[in-house]
């Protein structure tokens, strides 16, 4: 009996494991998925129905206006007005009525009587209005209907947001910031890391302890002094204070402690023999670094590069402080934040631009996840 209870427990435990993990995964992915689906939806539908309804055909009530008397054509002694309420061939009429309160009065293809004339609305949305007497109305009559709208997805929102918000420009600006801000610190840090790992100089331990300390210094401490410094340089030399060079150097400064820390630990872990035997062969430290250490350190360099790339690409604060907000400098995060304020209800623009800003980091992340994880494991003392 004890054994059976135990067996039962294990089974229930396994079910519970699967179910709870599944719930967590859903909780973690659904918000992003919902945003993605929404970015592909029609902007009118997006704001009146939840994204989870977008996979099934929805019904929506609306009204159409018939043509006026000017549109009538005499056919065999009678007068006919024809038209189409649903130009989109995928939509269809579910029912219609002559008043707003009675939408279900007639089915598609039925003929309704309007003051002695015959009005027929077909399933595809086209209508035919026939009368024995000539029409004389000058304003089109309103016909109320319920239309079935099949799920439709398109890239229209993406086209709109690129046209309206210059997201494409922000995209390029972000690249302009990110690439140099990733590469420059790697070079500078690699040399320093090698010196910290394998060269002897007074104060080496102490200086490296300072670097470890700097790992956690909050960015906020640097902002005001640097902003003042940049402004001073700008006014003294008559140059703009918000420049790409300025933000590259700032990101280099903020990324260096982690870069030096990661690379020094990695380079310091390389076998001593290879360095010593190269030294016996008469190679200088400079040769050893370039020919031996750099090629061997590629995994660590890649780890840090991904780290820094994601961090710079996703950064908002540094960009807000050190870059201008004009079209020629604004980055994606900054633009997105601005839109949240000014276009807070234009979900078709927000969802699509958010996705545009996420594509590159997500591609980098999923294709290089292994290196990213390695970097995380090696450098988990830094706070991002």
């Amino acid at each position: 009996m004890n054994r059976r209870a135990f067996g039962l427990n294990v089974t229930w435990g396994r079910v519970l494991t699967h179910v709870s993990l599944l719930v967590l995964v859903l909780l973690w992915t659904l918000p992003t998925f919902g945003l993605f689906v929404s970015s592909l939806r029609d902007k009118d539908q997006l704001i009146i129905s939840g994204w989870w309804t977008s996979f099934s055909t929805t019904e929506r009530s609306a009204f159409g206006r018939t043509g006026t008397a000017a549109a009538q054509v005499p056919v065999g002694g009678r007068y006919v007005i024809e038209g189409d309420f649903l130009p989109d061939p995928r939509r269809s009429i579910v029912s219609f009525g002559l008043t707003q309160t009675n939408l279900a009065a007639f089915g598609p293809g039925d003929t309704a009587e309007i003051d002695g004339s015959e009005f027929t609305l077909f399933e595809d949305g086209s209508y035919r209005w026939v009368s024995d007497e000539p029409f004389s109305h000058t304003a089109g009559r309103r016909i109320f209907y319920v239309a079935a709208i099949p799920p439709t997805f398109s890239l229209q929102n993406y086209r709109d947001v690129i046209a309206a918000e210059r997201i494409d420009r922000a995209f390029i600006n972000t690249f302009t910031v990110t690439i140099p801000a990733t590469i420059i610190p790697i070079l500078i840090a690699a040399f320093a890391a090698y010196a910290f790992a394998w060269m002897k100089f007074p104060g080496r331990q102490w200086l490296f302890a300072v670097v470890v300390g700097l790992l956690v210094v909050p960015l906020q401490m640097s902002l005001i002094p640097l902003l003042r410094m940049y402004n001073d340089i700008g006014t003294t030399f008559g140059v703009p204070s918000k420049t790409y060079l300025g933000i590259w150097l700032a990101h280099t400064g903020f990324g260096l402690p982690l870069a030096i820390y990661l690379l020094r630990n990695y380079i310091g872990g390389l076998p001593r023999d290879i360095i010593e035997s190269a030294q016996l062969d008469g190679a200088s430290h400079f040769d050893i670094f370039l020919r031996l250490i750099l090629p061997l350190s590629v995994p660590a360099l890649a780890s840090f590069a991904i780290f820094q790339f994601l961090w710079v690409w996703n950064d908002l604060l540094v960009a807000l402080v050190f870059l201008g907000k004009g079209d020629e400098q604004i980055v994606l995060t900054s633009r997105l934040r601005e839109m949240l304020g000014s276009r807070g209800d234009n979900w078709e623009l927000l969802t699509s631009s958010a996705f545009i800003s996420m594509t590159v980091p997500l591609i980098v992340f999923f294709s290089l996840q292994r290196y990213f994880v390695r970097g995380l494991l090696a450098g988990s003392v830094k706070g991002g």
């Binding site: 494991t17 200086l207 002094p225 400079f286």
Partner: protein
């Protein structure tokens, strides 16, 4: 546009070229200026020792210079500015500090930051540990981990858009398009403008950071769990310990140091949390936090550098214990090498 792409490419080349030119140039210069030679008596004189004394400094100088300008100097400068007026010219003593203590907005930020400090690391670490544990037991564990890890790649602003959509509010007559309100209505509630519900809205913002940081905790803890020796678990099971008891009595104590590292790392992120609050509420409806208040004071009404510096210092002081702990840990590790 093409011009800018070209400009960016040029900058990349110049940046890399400049750095390389520095390293090659200075090393070459050193070899030229301190070459091997002969003593007056004709014997061979190697200047290798001299070169070996100088070369390390050539290697570390650029890094030290940038660290000095961008991180070390600002720490002291911010501390100095905290005693000066809004433009940083007139000494005001403790004026900015007394202002901060009496300012309700600042106190609100402190209260909120304290809540963030408790909730976010606790939830991220425990959910991360839970996922790491569960994922090791199922076949699709790696897929699950990848998906939960994904938000790490999304910017805080992007995450804010995602969650603002989840929290979206429509009037009670309209169909809800935010998942939270749709669920709430389905349960029978009336739709709420969640983001402006005082006090509780703080937790809605925290969820965003938990959502991002759980993946980080999971990855680190997952690696630590792999490092727990199988024998210790087997031994406990043979002794009749239940799965839960094994987890809490055997596994957790062995990964405690990693849990601490994860916790403190997330703590630092939390102390600096800025983007989420700026994008979601800009500190309205009682959601102000220190980093957002600091940013606001930097620019508000032409900027008040004194008050901004005080707030930055508060964040810094909160980080100092972690900094000391990190350095101690590093030195202990070095001693064991």
């Amino acid at each position: 546009m093409t011009q800018q792409v070209l400009g960016a490419l040029l900058a990349v080349v110049a940046g890399i070229g400049g750095s390389l030119a520095y390293f090659f140039g200075t090393n070459l210069l050193l070899d030229r200026l301190a070459p091997d030679g002969r003593r007056p008596d004709g014997s061979y004189l190697s200047r290798e020792p001299l070169r070996n004394k100088i070369r390390p400094w050539l290697f570390v100088l650029p890094a030290l210079a940038i660290l000095g300008v961008y991180l070390v100097y600002p720490v002291f400068e911010t501390a100095r500015l905290s005693f000066f007026d809004r433009t940083g010219t007139r000494f005001v003593g403790l004026g900015n500090y007394t202002w901060a203590i009496g300012n309700p907005e600042f106190r609100m930020a402190i209260r909120n930051n304290l809540m963030w400090l408790i909730v976010v690391p606790a939830l991220s670490t425990s959910i991360g540990l839970l996922v790491a544990t569960l994922a090791d037991r199922v076949r699709w564990g790696n897929l699950a981990k990848s998906l939960i890890f994904m938000p790490m790649a999304i910017s805080f602003v992007g995450a804010s858009v995602i969650w603002k959509f989840v929290y979206d509010y429509r009037g009670p007559d309209a169909q809800q398009i935010g998942v939270l309100n749709a669920f709430w209505v389905w349960l029978g509630g009336t739709p709420q403008a969640w983001i402006s519900v005082p006090f509780w809205n703080n937790f809605l913002l925290m969820i965003i950071l938990v959502w991002i940081q759980t993946g980080f905790a999971m990855v680190i803890l997952s690696a630590a769990l792999r490092g727990v020796p199988e024998e210790t678990i087997e031994a406990a099971k043979i002794d009749g310990a239940s799965e839960v008891a094994v987890f809490f009595r055997i596994v957790i104590p062995q990964i405690m140091s990693t849990i601490l590292v994860v916790w403190t790392t997330i703590t630092i992120v939390v102390l600096k949390v800025f983007d989420i609050v700026l994008a979601m509420t800009n500190g309205q409806w009682g959601t102000e936090v220190l980093a957002n208040a600091m940013y606001n004071w930097m620019f508000r009404g032409g900027g008040d550098f004194g008050r901004g510096s005080v707030i930055a210092l508060v964040i810094m002081i909160a980080v100092v214990p972690i900094m000391v702990w990190n350095i101690r840990r590093f030195q202990a590790e070095e001693a064991m090498r």
